[in-house]
Structures are given as structure tokens and as C-alpha cells.
Amino acid sequence: MNSLAPYWPSLAGGALIGLSATLLLLLLGRVAGISGIAGNLLRRPDEDWGWRAAFVLGLIGGPLLFLLLFGHPPALEIASSLPMLVIAGLLVGFGTRLGAGCTSGHGVCGLARLSPRSMAAVAVFMFTAIVTVFIRNHLV
């Protein structure tokens, strides 16, 4: 299937994300939700603070492992303006905590458990994201 060739890295990368979630679940019994892991680092340290910090450090190290293995950094292009990034960051931070999850917690882990909450959350954030991009790219 030549037409699918460009998507193999995406599928393999996704499978690795699933493997990461599986490791965290089977070893520590926790869900790999990045917004929850990062958000809870901002609270007063408890007995879970250490593994959360270690996970985030590993996450940040991931692109460096890519650089080491492939000899070039992964592509990254941030087109949004600085004010847009600030507003977007505030919305992503507040929204993921209020909604108790992001693309990883609800998207990957929640859908894998067929959680009705996560299915609803994914449908809503996909919808508002698609509408936002439509407005930005085709209306403004």
C-alpha cells in the first residue's frame, strides 16, 4: 500500500505512545494523562510528585533521543503569533484541568477504556478545535 507509506511513522509513533501508557499502567497503576501529571506537579509535593517529575523529564528527553537516533531534530514549526500562543496556552492549561484531561488522558487512555466521559470530552475538544481552525484559516 504505497499510499499509506507516509503514515507509517505516525502509526509507529502512536503505538509507542500506547506502549508508554501501558508501561505506566502496568508498572505504576496510573493513567498517562499529561495535563494531570503536569498539573499535579504544581501542587504541594506528595508521594506521587517524584514519579510525575520523572515522567515529565523523560517526556522532554524524548525528542533528544530522536535526535540521537536519527541525527536530526524532529520537525517543529510554530506559526502562531506570540499573543495567540499566550491565549492558547492559558486556555489549554485551564481547560484541561477543568475537563480533567487532554489528548492523552481522554484521547489515548480514556478511549482505550471506552470511558463515556472521555468519549464525550474527545468529541467536544475535537469539535471546538476544528471550528477554531476553520474560523482562523477560512473566515478571518
Partner: protein
Amino acid sequence: MRIIAALLSGLVFGFGLALSGMLNPVRVLGFLDLAGAWDPSLAFVLAGAVVVSAGGYLVSRRLARPALAPTFDIPASRRIDLRLIGGAALFGIGWGMAGFCPGPAIASLSLGYGKSVLFVAAMLVGMAAFRFMPAAPRARHA
């Protein structure tokens, strides 16, 4: 051991993101732009991640406890309320504005882009601001 396990899991996550191409906001926005030159990559990433993660979840249901912790701590709530829907809606708007969600944004910090740092700083402020939200009614009376 728990620290090493979490570090390894985070590393696999970050490497997977880098390999998948989803570290790049432009690719993510390409998926979200249904009316433009649609890039289906994110669907493949999500499919791969959900299938493998579902396998892991099924294995966990056959285990009495995780290897390095006393119990499984998995969200059990099934309640779909205004907080869930409102939070997801706000998150989606921010995601659509920048093309960054928390995982890729944090992972990209190691690549040295000022814009990543700015986004993550704003995201942390947003997360910290959530602590000023009153608790959910049911939790407050629990």
C-alpha cells in the same frame, strides 16, 4: 524503581510523539483543518496509541495490582457534566489556536524554541489558575 519506570515511560512517550510528527503544531493544525489540505496523520497516531493502550488496559484487568504500586488508580467517574464539557471546549479552542496540546508542548521544550517555552509558561499559569475554581458541588459536600 518507580522513578525509573516513570522516566522510561515518559521517554517512550516523548520519542513516540517525535516519531509520529505530532510534536509539530503545523501537522496538528493540518489535521484539524478539514476544509484545507487535510493531513490525516493524527488519526493514525491516535489509532496506534488507542489500540496498544487498550491492549495494556485489558492486561491490567487480569492483574491484581501493578508491578510497582499497591493498587491501580484509574479514573472511575462516568459523570458527563458541565465541567467536563466546558473544560474540553476551552481546551479545544486553545489547541486549535496553537496546534499544541500539553504533551507535545512540554516535550518540545528540549528543542530550544522560545515559542514553546512561552506556550508552556502560559499553560502552567492556566493550570495554576484552575486551583482558584470552586470545587465541584458533589466533591465539596462529600
